[in-house]
């Protein structure tokens, strides 16, 4: 029996060392170590030996078993190394410098991408998003905002009037909103301060189209009313938001302006990113682009929505979203944003 054991060991080892694939190795393993493998069968016979011979033969059987197992393990490692080497060679045969195969995903419009960022930034300072109608009344679009009929500032917001035939609407009373500020009155009259809201949306004006003007354009209106809102808060908010959106290094400046629904009135200019301030057709050669008109909400507006202007103050602003998008991506024409050309879309 001892001879038999040694014979098995020698056969197994020499067989194993010649094997170069895992499958055969596995078969050989079963052939010797499996439930009815050669070695297993011999080991079973040990029980039949005289009692005094058993320890000696048993020890030898264990040694043989270990030797076979070790050889298998070593050979497995060798096979793995060989395979790796081979695949390395195979890799060298294909031209890996050819670009990968990209999954077919689409592109979100640049306006959406910027708007998502705008919403995120304002979320960090407690603003909620609201959405309202584009078909708007003269009251919310103008009158509640301290712009009575016949006010000369209406000239700066030439209005698209809707056909009132077949309806009971008085001509001129229902329009396409010219500004998302129309949502100030709608929201404030329904809620007590504090309120922090942004309202993204489309606006319409009777305007001749050029590189920096469109008859349909997007704004993000925003306003905040509380017991102690200050002009410095407005400056700080504008500065924070625009730097988060456009980068820490942008250049901003503030100027006085007049909108009947704010007092003091503020205009925000950003250095033109299309020309880096050198002057181009997009910024009308000024090097600066108007980006975020704003101001402290006029007491007449607060009164009109039922707030006490001696107890609460607030600020409001409108981000020119279409313009922000074009400035962020250095697009030199607003009309690119409504162009469905996939050669444009695929860049974003």
């Amino acid at each position: 029996m001892e001879e038999e054991l040694i014979q098995i060991k020698n056969t197994a080892v020499s067989l194993i060392l010649d094997i170069l694939d895992r499958k055969t190795l596995e078969e050989v393993k079963l052939q010797f170590l499996g439930r009815s493998g050669k070695l297993t069968l011999v080991i079973k016979e040990i029980a039949k030996l005289p009692k005094e011979d058993r320890p000696e033969v048993g020890r030898l059987a264990n040694e043989v078993k270990k030797a076979i197992e070790d050889t298998i393990a070593n050979q497995e490692l060798r096979i793995r190394q060989l395979t790796d080497q081979e695949s390395g060679e195979r890799k060298e045969k294909i031209d890996t410098s050819v670009p990968g195969i990209k999954p077919d995903i689409g592109h979100l419009h640049p306006m959406t991408q910027v708007l998502m960022d705008v919403v995120d930034v304002f979320k960090t300072i407690g603003f909620q998003v609201a959405d309202g109608p584009e078909i708007e009344t003269d009251y919310y679009n103008f009158e509640v905002l301290n712009i009575p009929k016949d006010h000369p500032s209406r000239d700066t917001q030439q209005t698209l009037f809707l056909d009132t035939r077949k309806s009971k609407v008085v001509p001129g009373e229902v329009i396409l909103r010219t500004q998302t500020s129309a949502m100030q009155g709608r929201i404030m009259e329904k809620i007590k301060p504090p309120v922090r809201a942004i309202v993204p949306g489309k606006n319409f004006r009777y305007e001749q189209v050029d590189a920096s003007h469109g008859f349909e354009f997007w704004q993000v209106e925003g306003f905040l009313v509380d017991t102690s809102v200050r002009l410095t808060d407005l400056f700080g908010t504008i500065d924070y938001v625009l730097r988060k959106l456009m980068g820490e290094g942008i250049k901003l400046k503030f100027a006085t302006t007049n909108f009947p629904f704010v007092e003091p009135g503020v205009d925000t200019y950003i250095q033109c990113t299309v020309c880096n301030g050198r002057g181009c057709s997009f910024c009308k050669q000024s090097g600066w682009s108007e980006i975020m008109p704003a101001g402290m909400i006029h007491p007449n507006v607060l009164k009109a929505v039922g707030y006490d202007s001696q107890k609460v103050t607030g600020f409001a602003f409108a981000i020119g979203l279409s313009r922000l998008v074009t400035l962020r991506y250095q697009m030199d024409d607003l009309r690119l944003l409504t162009n469905p050309d996939m050669r444009i879309l695929e860049q974003f």
């Binding site: 009777y206 007049n258 007092e263």
Partner: protein, 651 residues
């Protein structure tokens, strides 16, 4: 508004360079659009906001410069107009104070009409006007110098030497000095002599009473016209003049005599002649400067900084607002804790005082305390303010008109991940777009004054623009996958108008089931239980879908709850059935599911000729299912399908 530097310098010393001056003026609210150098002079082009009619004048702009330069304005040296001994050219004025709040005038005799001197012609040319003759040039020059419109009549042409102001009935014929004829709109303000309309007040003078080369006697007048009537008439006539621009915004009611004196001075100097009437000044109010109070505490609370009182006073002084402190508490008042003004770092010894200003009549934009606060802030300089982040309450309550923006993000991300690219298109479409779909235009909402006929109707669908986008990309791309999430406008009249967001897309690479699968995935993610089949349409171009997004997101349920993993293994088997083709797979799957609560999932595995193989998963959450139990359920399914659909098990 154009303003030559040389003219401005007559009123105020300027030390800043043109560029610096332009930047500083923009900061204080006088938007400098352009600075041009020409003929040794510098011409500024300003954008004047509607609230500041006073800035439509050289003097007004000089006043702003004086405030930013901290300089004094040089006042005009004006003559005292005195009544002559003999009133040789009297006139009868019949006022209506609703139309002219004030009517100031004077006659001048024995003038000679000739070209105005070169210096005046040069100045008028620089501000974009065409010199005509000395008297007409003077009226233009003085209007742009002082900001109040005035008009010169040929005295001899005023029939009966009597003028009456009244409202037009509508339809009257009128020929202006520049020989254009108009039919007057109702309620335009007109001046009549004994017989004729001789002036379209505030807008244009009449040809029949205008200055000619033969004019010897003039009547000069300055009127304060009703701004709304002027605005309406000039809009109705599409006739905006320099004068109407000033009247619409509200003219300086206190400045008529000064304007008249300046014009008379120049007429006598440049056209000769002598004053030949008393000074008419018809008015029913005094038109005096008014008082306005500014509480420094409120100012500091609104601005967020404490500007030293000395600086506040000097700013107000520089704007000719004549500030004076009317109350001054000797101890600083206890500040309301909710306000936290930022310290400017300048020791000011601030006390809460009340400053009373006397507002000159040319600043009729200054009506309330906040207006004065802006005056201080803008001259102090917005760019000198510190920046703070708002303090205060954050509300967790949803605001009115709340929009859960996250839903839109999820929806768009899924469509993007599915290979569709997003477009934004115009809400306004043309008549042709509708008729091409064989729709009647009267069924849709319409704009009365479209920018062009291509943009006349509000779109009732996103399909039109998606198909346009599709064809536009055709020459450059084989594979086209587009979507838009945007508003459509439903209803055929404004009483029934309804805005809805629609979500639509088109694909020429995906088949019906792939598009359906995208929508199923979208609905799954949003927790919407709806079969998307009805939203899909197969067009020549590709597979198109359109969903009333506003409607469907009412079902959104983003709440998720963990379901414990099954403790017992499922039993899975495939069942091949021969069923008539007309029976819908969806119906079969539903029926199989109905047969036992242990059937947890059914899907179509394979279709071969007349047989369909279903993949059925049986699972009991409470224990192991035995082969016998599954066998019973299977029998039930087969029996039911046989009865309902005449289905047979494939051998």
């Amino acid at each position: 508004m154009l303003a030559p530097l040389s003219w401005l310098k007559e009123y105020v010393d300027i030390t800043l360079s043109p560029k610096e001056l332009g930047d500083r003026l923009t900061e204080v609210g006088l938007g400098t659009e352009k600075i041009t150098k020409a003929d040794g002079d510098v011409i500024f082009e300003f954008e004047i906001t509607p609230n500041r009619p006073d800035l439509l004048s050289i003097l007004g702009i000089a006043r702003e410069i004086a405030a930013v330069e901290r300089k004094k304005i040089r006042q005009l040296n004006l003559p005292n107009l005195t009544k002559p001994k003999k009133e040789s050219l009297p006139i009868k004025l019949n006022p209506d104070y609703k139309l002219f709040q004030r009517w100031t005038g004077i006659s001048i005799a024995n003038i000679s009409i000739k070209p105005s001197p070169q210096w005046m012609q040069d100045r008028l040319t620089k501000i974009g006007l065409r010199p005509i003759n000395n008297v007409i040039d003077i009226t233009n020059y003085v209007m742009f110098e002082l900001g109040i419109p005035l008009h010169a009549f040929d005295y001899d042409q005023i029939i009966g030497h009597e003028m009456t102001v009244e409202k037009a009935i509508g339809g009257e014929h009128f020929t202006s000095v520049d020989e254009k004829s108009y039919h007057l709109p109702k309620n335009a303000i007109i001046i009549k002599d004994k017989e004729r309309i001789i002036d379209l007040a505030g807008i244009k003078g009449g040809l029949n009473s205008g200055i000619t080369d033969n004019t010897k006697y003039v009547f000069l007048h300055v009127t304060i016209d009703d701004p709304i009537l002027i605005r309406r008439a000039s809009i109705a006539l599409s006739l905006r003049s320099d004068a109407s621009a000033i009247y619409e915004r509200g003219v300086d009611k206190g400045g008529t005599l000064k304007t008249l004196a300046r014009a008379a001075q120049l007429v006598i100097e440049l056209a000769g002649g002598n004053i030949a009437s008393k000074i008419y000044d018809l008015k029913n109010k005094a038109f005096e400067p008014w008082k306005l109070k500014l509480r420094t505490e409120r100012m500091n609370n609104i601005l967020g900084i404490e500007i030293p009182e000395k600086r506040v006073l000097s700013i107000l002084e520089s704007l000719n607002l004549n500030p004076s402190i009317i109350t001054l508490s000797s101890f600083p008042r206890k500040r309301e804790s909710r306000f936290v003004p930022v310290k400017t770092g300048i020791k000011s010894g601030v006390t809460d005082s009340v400053i009373e200003c006397t507002v000159p009549t040319y600043r009729n934009d200054l009506k309330i305390e906040e207006d004065l606060i802006e005056e201080v802030a803008r001259i102090y300089g917005y760019n000198n303010f510190p920046k703070t982040i708002p303090i205060g309450q954050l509300s967790t309550k949803k605001i009115p008109y709340f929009k859960d923006f996250k839903i839109e993000e999820i929806a768009k991300n899924i469509l993007q991940a599915s290979g569709l690219s997003e477009i934004y298109t115009y809400s306004l479409i043309g008549e042709k777009d509708l008729t091409e779909q064989r729709w009647k235009t009267e069924d849709f909402l319409r704009v009365d004054n479209p920018v062009s006929l291509e943009f006349e109707y509000l779109r009732p669908t996103l399909k039109i623009n998606l198909l346009k986008g599709f064809s536009q990309n055709k020459p450059n791309f084989k594979d086209i996958n587009l979507f838009e999430l945007g508003k459509v406008y439903l209803g055929n009249n404004l009483n029934e108008a309804k805005e809805s967001y629609f979500l639509s897309g088109i694909s020429n690479t995906k088949n019906f089931f792939e598009v359906k699968g995208i929508l199923e995935r979208l609905f799954d993610e949003l927790g919407i239980k709806e079969d998307p089949t009805k939203f899909i349409e197969i067009l020549d171009e590709g597979v198109f879908f359109e969903i009333n997004y506003s409607e469907i997101i009412k079902q959104v349920d983003l709440n998720k709850k963990y379901i414990p993993l099954p403790k017992y293994p499922p039993i899975i088997e495939d069942l091949a059935l021969i069923i008539e083709e007309k029976i819908k797979t969806g119906d079969i799957i539903n029926e199989i599911k109905q047969q036992s609560r242990f059937v947890t999932d059914v899907s179509l595995l394979d279709t071969f000729r007349d047989s369909r193989t279903f993949h059925i998963i049986y699972q009991n959450k409470e224990g192991n299912l035995t082969t016998e139990e599954v066998g019973k359920i299977r029998e039930k399914i087969i029996k039911f399908l046989k009865e309902k659909f005449n289905a047979k098990v494939k051998e």
